[in-house]
Amino acid sequence: MFTALIAAVALAAGAPETPNPQHPNEEAVDPYVPSDANAGAAPFAGDAMWRAFHGQPGVDRVVDGMVDRSLADPRIKEIFESHDMVRLRRTLKEQFCYILGGGCAYSGRDMKSVHKDLGVQRTDFNILVEHLQSAMEDEKISFRDQNRFLAKLAPMQRDAVER
């Protein structure tokens, strides 16, 4: 009965069915070779951008703000349903940290294989970018620095969008 209770609590918290050994709160994924190259963009030189985004706490708020908005948006939330949002938030935070010159390693998968078969269209991509812009605005990141960062992400449209 205790076990049942624990199981029920765990389920309510969205515990993974098959936990990832390195990240027990996440689902295991098929094996792949981790590499910073998977992040899909070269990092900024220096730490100016990292500071502009207020370091890791700022990047965490931006990623969570973007993901929360996307999950609340009826136009795109279905694309995320049934995927592991714990992993998504973690890998996005790593990816943004890596690109912004925060010195993180990116441990996630590459943009092409991870978005394959999701059916993402350009409109979806643009909606996500708008949510990112709102999250960066909330973090009081200057418009110019927002655009510098978006310039790194924009080409990923080719890999994230299906067609």
């Binding site: 269209q121 643009n126 708008e130 418009f143």
Partner: protein, 292 residues
């Protein structure tokens, strides 16, 4: 007696969303706010004077967008208006129609045309994107490139002939390249236009001395995005001089503001030079664009 009118510039550039949303209710959000462009005097998506390679409207390749615009330029001796509509199909093809009215007001009497004499011009445009993407391709210098044509009909044959123009209708052809430099928060665009048009066509096409040939002209814009909603910049457009009336090149300074994805306002200052012997035709212009 040589009305040198003009089609003034107008609307001005902006990346900003001059309005227009996807017609598809299910996909109401298309391009990024800064990528819609406004409408040129000739009805094409672009700046006020120069046609850009972008396809008007907010639709992506998954949808159709459309917008209407109305533009007014107040000059010391004339008044210019343009209004029209455009559709963008799948972010690939743009079709546009614009009507221009150039009212000579009191100046018409001095020019012997009669008070309030008004030149009109209809411009039907088509533009096709051929390569690149102005916004997404930030990892290369390759711009978005489009080719376009504008059929213009001034329908004022007697006056055009009196001025020495060959025809009262004609077709311009252009190639335009546009790039959003996101890392610099800038937009730059340039186009080369093959044209016979006098004052963009309001004074007909070609000249008296057999200057009936096409000449290549340049038009360009550069703008700085100050916020998601505000673009400021300037434009330049060279023009031929087929009629020997010292036709001036044009330039403008503008600020385009996206009130929302459906509405944008452009205010600017345009210098159209000498028009029909009346010098210093500089003035304020205002353009509204709404998408539906």
């Amino acid at each position: 007696m040589r009305p040198r009118c003009i089609a003034l510039l107008v609307g001005v550039a902006s990346l900003l969303g001059a309005g227009s949303a996807s017609a598809d209710d299910l996909r109401p959000s298309g391009k990024l706010l800064l990528t819609g462009g406004v409408t040129t005097v000739e009805g094409s998506g672009g700046g006020g004077l120069s046609s850009w390679a972008t396809i008007t409207g907010y639709a992506t390749r998954d949808g159709v967008g459309a917008n209407v615009h109305a533009t007014r330029v107040e000059l010391p001796d004339y008044q210019f208006r343009a209004y029209g509509a455009a559709v963008g199909l799948f972010d690939r093809i743009e079709l546009s129609y614009t009507r221009q009215d150039f009212n000579t007001q009191g100046t018409g009497a001095k020019l012997g045309l009669g008070r309030g004499f008004t030149f009109h011009q209809d411009v039907v445009g088509v533009k096709v994107k051929v390569l690149g993407d102005a916004v997404y391709d930030q990892d290369t210098w390759v711009p978005q490139v489009a080719v376009g044509a504008q059929y213009k009909n001034a329908a004022k044959a007697p006056i055009v002939a009196a001025l020495g123009g060959q025809d009262d209708d004609g077709i311009d052809y252009y190639v335009s390249a546009t790039k959003v430099l996101l890392a610099q928060s800038m937009v730059v665009s340039g186009a080369v236009r093959a044209t016979k048009a006098n004052q963009t066509g309001l004074l007909g096409f070609g000249g008296p001395g057999g200057e009936d040939d096409y000449s290549l002209q340049f038009e360009g814009s550069a703008g700085l995005l100050l916020s998601k909603r505000l673009l400021v910049g300037g434009e330049y457009r060279s023009k031929p001089n087929n009629l020997g009336l010292k036709e001036d090149d044009w330039w403008d300074l503008f600020a385009a503001y996206a009130v929302s994805k459906n509405l944008s306002v452009t205010a600017g200052y345009a210098d159209l030079g000498t028009i029909a012997t009346f010098k210093g035709q500089r003035g304020l212009y205002l353009s509204l664009q709404a998408g539906f």
